[in-house]
């Protein structure tokens, strides 16, 4: 108590946030808030938040491939679309929700592996270009397969409905479902990246030659990263459909892939928080900019990306972390009390 | 008269200072060997000299202060740097590599003559004149790198570990060529080398670096004779 007083509120705050129990408490509070939101918000807000979570899941998968393994992908919308169409087909034919969810994951994993095995042989630009081909091929293919996809009209379906015992409205139930699945996906990604796989991908990003010289099977890990990205794209697409009840060819388009890349970088790579911020940026910004002048969001996206690249290369989440560290750092020169938690935050992010 | 005078040079990478005040001279027409153990700051000294990293202190070349000039400006004044193991443009042909060295010269006939002179000096290059530089052996690339530097008709040739990764026989050949070069091309040299015996055999002056400072400096012949210096700093 007296020591905290001596170090001032900054040191105390730093100590407090560094403590494991504090983190659990903070996490629990955040979770409680997220769960409580739908009971007090309009159906529109619930939909928007569900879309943010769905997109964040897709970005998290992209982050594994692009952020951690260092391979730029411009094909994520293809998997997002496959996931959404799987859901659309399943719900349209009265399948139980878990079945179409499974279909989304399986299809994306298969498609991911098929594309990944040849693609990972290429480096840098060539890899990016190959992934570019995915949405370009997928969009006309979806129109062609109109008996499956509804063609240019798309599929409008009734998705998950709130069970009577819950006493909830559909939008509330759907939000909670999306939140639950999203949380699980983020946890899985965290566990995957915390261990051996995460270290291997980091090494591959830094230097493929160094990675293979210490015995890491580079291509196998790149296939893994690509497949993870594909599966997350599929789950994101499925969640998206569940919330919005509609899937059209637009969700496969290259523009969406590009927007996802922009969102990921703006939010901040190699950061779960960055994925959420990026997704919120993508979903919520057009609501504001397009209200002012329709079609202005492209300009805003581009400018935002360039500004982020110039000013905060670590993205908005990186800027937040830096701001937090600065807040904790005492105005006195270099207090040891403030340093450890900020370092730990960087490491865990 | 000194062609190059470095006084109290401080430089490093980011916040980490590697050189803590290095003083060094290369006489007009002379060869200075810069010796020292791994991590003593030899390569850093050359990088600072050529404007590739941030530096403080004073670097006077040919009567002009070059401390704050850019790499390309320094090169244009007549400092030709052959960096460690990366002295060639890997995807360009041998011929193009040599011509890049001479790109800033206007005297075309003389450039052609110098090109021939290089090829005569290293026939291995003549044989592979059209091959991409990166496809050649380490020794050939080192010769090409030296020739590319010479093609600019420099006043000072700066060599960073010319023996790195080369077989002893090849190394010997490169150093023999260096001795010939000084007389034939009228160029002064600053040579960084791990292999002290080799470097001292071509140099007339030597400076020994230790932890970013000059520990010993003197005529090469004298350093060769000082067993204490050799044992303490050069590991021979």
């Amino acid at each position: 108590m007296t020591r905290v007083a001596q170090e001032g509120w900054r040191g105390g705050l730093a100590k407090l946030t560094a403590r494991r129990t504090t983190r659990w408490v903070l996490g629990a509070v955040a979770a409680a808030v997220l769960v409580a939101i739908p009971f007090n918000a309009s159906p529109y807000t619930n939909l928007q938040l569900a879309l943010v979570i769905a997109l964040a899941v897709s970005l998290r998968g992209m982050d594994v491939l692009t952020g951690h393994a260092g391979q730029v992908t411009l094909g994520q919308s293809a998997f997002f679309g496959i996931g959404a169409y799987s859901g659309g087909y399943g719900f349209a034919h009265g399948w139980p929700a878990p079945l179409s969810f499974l279909l989304a994951v399986v299809l994306c994993v298969i498609a991911g592996v098929i594309v990944a095995i040849p693609a990972v042989r290429l480096r840098g630009f060539a890899f990016g270009v190959i992934t570019l081909a995915l949405p370009v091929v997928m969009a006309p293919l979806a129109i062609r397969l109109d008996w499956l996809t509804g063609g240019p009209v798309g599929l409008a379906v009734t998705t998950v409905q709130a069970p009577a015992w819950s006493g909830l409205a559909d939008d509330q139930w759907q939000y909670l479902l999306v939140l639950a699945v999203g949380a699980v996906m983020f946890l899985l990604a965290h566990n995957l990246l915390a261990g051996r796989v995460g270290r291997a991908l980091t090494l591959i990003r830094t230097s493929e030659i160094a990675a293979s010289s210490v015995g890491i099977p580079v291509q196998r890990y790149k296939v893994l990263a690509f497949t993870v990205a594909a599966a997350y794209g599929g789950v994101g697409g499925w969640l998206y459909l569940t919330a919005v009840h509609y899937i059209g060819v637009d969700s496969l388009a290259l523009t969406l892939s590009i927007s996802m890349l922009v969102a990921l970088v703006v939010g901040g790579v190699r950061s779960p928080l960055g994925c959420v911020i990026g997704a919120a940026f993508y979903i919520l910004v057009p609501n504001i900019t397009d209200k002012a002048t329709p079609g202005r969001s492209a300009l805003f996206f581009g400018v935002a990306l360039l500004i982020v690249l110039f000013v905060v290369p670590s993205g908005l989440s990186g800027a937040l972390r830096a701001g937090w560290s600065r807040l904790l750092a005492s105005p006195r020169p270099a207090t040891p009390a403030a340093a450890p938690p900020s370092a730990e935050q960087h490491a865990s992010a | 008269m000194a062609l190059l005078e470095i006084r109290d040079l401080r430089a490093g990478y980011g916040a980490a200072e590697v050189l803590h005040g290095v003083t060094l001279t290369v006489e007009e027409g002379g060869t200075t060997a810069l010796l020292g153990a791994n991590g003593a700051g030899k390569t850093t000294t050359l990088r600072a000299l050529c404007g590739m990293i941030a530096r403080r202190g004073e670097i006077v070349f040919d009567g002009q202060d070059i401390t704050s000039l850019s790499t390309e400006r320094i090169a244009r004044l007549g400092v030709a740097h052959v960096p460690q193991g990366r002295g060639t443009l890997a995807n360009l042909s041998v011929r193009d590599n040599l011509l890049v060295g001479a790109l800033l010269r206007r005297d075309r006939p003389a450039v052609r003559a110098d090109l021939e002179r290089c090829l005569a000096m290293f026939p291995a290059l003549a044989k592979r004149i059209k091959a991409a530089a990166g496809t050649m052996s380490g020794g050939e690339q080192q010769m090409l790198a030296v020739c590319r530097a010479l093609m600019s008709r420099p006043k000072l040739l700066v060599l960073d570990e010319p023996s790195l990764g080369l077989a002893p026989v090849i190394t010997r050949r490169v150093f023999d060529a260096l001795v010939g070069l000084r007389a034939e091309w009228g160029v002064s040299m600053l040579v960084v080398e791990q292999n002290a015996t080799l470097a001292l055999s071509v140099a007339d002056w030597a400076s020994v670096l230790e932890s970013g400072r000059v520990a010993v400096a003197g005529p090469a012949a004298e350093i060769v004779g000082r067993d204490d210096v050799r044992r303490a700093y050069l590991g021979t």
């Binding site: 570019l132 006309p140 079609g295 581009g302 400018v303 360039l306 690249l309 | 390309e72 990366r86 590319r148």
Partner: protein, 292 residues
């Protein structure tokens, strides 16, 4: 429709890809990167040419002015934007040019809107006949301009000091600086030249497919495919690859029922994927020498 006609149509389509592919190759050869914003830069200069022609400037003069502006624009973009990220890894460079692409797209929509515009062609659209095949003066003119651009590029890169300097900087900027080459000026030159070639492509294409902000989006993808197939450092390779892609795409769309007109845009990409897997350095390119 006979097969000769199909081939000619394919070559015309391919020429469109080729123009942009040449610009990509130029940037790659002088700076060692792929500029995903090349298409949008060309769109912007085409809009400028259109805007000038709307005020009564003759189309030829408008195009010349637009190309000049494109040269300046290329140099300025390199100096103010790309230079900041020079030497970073591919990932960053791709993202930077993607950001540039999105920004220019937004600017174009903001100023001119998203609706179709009609722009006059540099060449008359009179029909010509060769046997049973039909094509227009515009088609022939497009091919002629392309061939001249290739010749100029080839001479520039292989026969001039500027070309050698550009190749040296693309290979290794730091090493080139040690030979005294003015790196910054050369990088700007590469972008300026690419801006010119790209904008030329834009004004050649626009009369055929109507001027609109997204007119080069799919073309860019094929141009990238052609440039990569051609080996990225070979202008001739890029153009030949673009023509091959155009012809094969057209033939496949017509004669393979499974492909049809809707899926024919996938054909070049499939070809590219297959070729890259067999020959990662492209059809005409030299294998890049990797340093360990």
């Amino acid at each position: 429709m006979n097969i000769v006609q199909q081939v000619i149509d394919g070559m015309t389509t391919g020429s469109i890809y080729a123009a942009l592919a040449l610009a990509l190759v130029l940037v790659y050869r002088s700076t060692g990167m792929i500029n995903f914003a090349q298409g949008q830069m060309a769109v912007l200069s085409t809009y400028l040419a259109w805007a000038m022609s709307q005020t009564g400037v003759p189309i030829v003069l408008a195009v010349v002015l637009a190309v000049v502006i494109a040269i300046v624009m290329g140099a300025v973009i390199e100096r103010l934007l790309i230079r900041r990220f020079e030497g970073r890894e591919h990932l960053t460079m791709i993202i930077v040019t993607v950001g540039l692409m999105t920004t220019i797209n937004g600017v174009v929509i903001w100023i001119w809107g998203a609706d179709l515009k009609t722009i006059a062609s540099l060449f008359p659209s009179d029909a010509l006949g060769l046997g049973s095949a039909r094509f227009t003066v515009h088609d022939v003119g497009t091919v002629a301009v392309l061939v001249s651009v290739i010749v100029v590029m080839q001479v520039l890169f292989q026969r001039t000091r500027l070309g050698l300097a550009l190749r040296a900087v693309a290979d290794n900027p730091q090493s080139s600086a040690l030979s005294g080459l003015p790196i910054g000026v050369l990088l700007m030159t590469g972008w300026a030249l690419a801006g010119a070639v790209g904008s030329l492509g834009g004004v050649l294409i626009a009369p055929k497919i109507s001027l609109q902000p997204g007119m080069l989006d799919s073309v860019l993808i094929y141009a990238v495919a052609a440039a990569i197939l051609g080996g990225l450092d070979s202008p001739i390779g890029a153009v030949v690859a673009a023509w091959v892609l155009g012809v094969v795409q057209n033939l496949a769309g017509t004669y393979i029922p499974l492909v049809g007109t809707d899926l024919q845009i996938a054909v070049p990409l499939v070809i590219m994927a297959v070729v890259l897997l067999i020959r990662p350095q492209g059809l005409f390119g030299r294998r890049e020498v990797m340093r360990v």
